[in-house]
Amino acid sequence: MLVSMPTAAAGTPEPPAVRLGPAVLRLEGVRKAFHRGVWPARRSVVVLSGATLEVEPGEMLWDKLTVDEHFALFARAYGMTDEARDRTVAALLDELQFAGYRGYRIEELSGGTRQKLNLALALMHEPQLLLLDEPYAGFDWETYLRFWEMSERRRDAGMGILIVSHLLAERERLDRIYTVRDGKTSDR
């Protein structure tokens, strides 16, 4: 497994990825693991800057609610105004090209569109640090390429992005790679 973390482009400030605090960790559903260094089954563990983090697995959407209702709920959780929510959601829907699914329930969506929504929910409050576990699973090729363009734009704007991936082919897109093997991390 590769743990990948793009960093800021030359000349821009170092993203705050190494300053992990509860306020940042809360944003993406990541928590400190109970057992540092242990590799729990069915969970992706990232070891970064001495902290052991765990990305929550499982279904993270409500099957019976629509795409728009998800945006509304998470906008409240993030403390966004209605105006900011509308502006951000419109931009993300356009960027990920799934505006036509706003009124669809989650149970009616394909895996790829669900994944787009997952990504949009994570991005809508523009976090300083974004942690993504296999974020492109289910994406078609165009969306996959668009995902990397989006990531690079945000990386260049100062957002730290940490991606957990099993695909070795993506290494040229990443600024820094950590390999986790047998519960231990090495910086490459």
């Binding site: 944003l27 559903g29 409500w62 959780a77 993030y78």
Partner: protein, 237 residues
């Protein structure tokens, strides 16, 4: 903020037409058909549950069964998403409050249908007493359903467990057996609510101590459900 979230959580469960149909059909079935079966069972077990009492209490069972099942499914089907919402900044407490508000709203809906069916079928001598007793049934089973959801994540296993608890509760209810059900019957959480509902259906009042006991059990059950929703939505760090 929790009040603003609750309507979304209610919609989550009322969105499919089949669910809406069942929320009406099950109370109607309980009051019109289950009541007579309950009376026959009581006779077979040596109990003395009168037809009118069986009809009254079946409205309570309908509200209890539906509220328990809905609370269970609210918890197990939304666990991951609720936790994500809490971690996104809302906090487990506010998510839990929204869930409780949704569960109570759904309980009021199913209780109203059960009450209306009872009123149309047999009339209600003490309308307010009967309505409160049916609501107490629903509140108690919100606690039971949510508590089961904490320990059992599988939909099938959890549903069966809700049905098991419900069945034990029904058949150890008041006047169901010749011996009164013994220790088990006295420990079932709906015992006093059942006494109140039977009395209300027959036009009798109930002692204040029974009302205090039912209120305590119902409030306690809602508290258990709140804790269960909080436990489910919290960060495990």
């Amino acid at each position: 903020m929790s009040a603003a979230l609750a309507p979304s959580f209610v919609r989550e469960h009322l969105r499919t037409r089949l669910t809406l149909v069942l929320l009406v059909a099950i109370p109607v079935f309980f009051v019109l058909i289950f009541a007579s079966v309950l009376g026959q069972f009581s006779s077979a077990l040596g109990g003395s549950l009168a037809s009118r009492a069986a009809t009254a209490i079946s409205a309570g069972w309908a509200a209890a069964f539906l509220s328990g099942a809905l609370a269970f499914f609210q918890l197990v089907s939304s666990r991951g998403a609720d936790r994500r919402l809490a971690l996104a900044g809302l906090g487990a407490g506010r998510v839990a409050l929204a869930r409780i508000a949704a569960a109570l709203s759904l309980a009021v809906v199913v209780s109203a249908v059960a009450y209306l069916t009872l009123w149309l079928r047999a009339g209600v001598a003490h309308p307010l007493h009967a309505a409160l007793a049916i609501l107490a049934f629903a509140a108690i089973y919100i606690g039971i359903g949510a508590l089961i959801g904490v320990f059992v994540s599988g939909a099938l296993e959890g549903s069966l467990l809700v049905v098991l608890v419900f069945s034990v509760d029904v058949f150890s209810g008041p006047a169901m057996t010749s011996g009164g059900g013994g220790l088990l019957a006295s420990l079932t959480p709906t015992r006093k609510a059942a006494d109140l509902l039977i009395a209300a259906g027959a036009g009798r009042g109930s002692p204040a101590s029974d009302w205090v006991a039912v209120t305590a059990v119902a409030v306690g059950a809602v508290g258990v459900a709140l804790a269960a929703f909080w436990f489910s939505a919290r960060s495990r760090a």
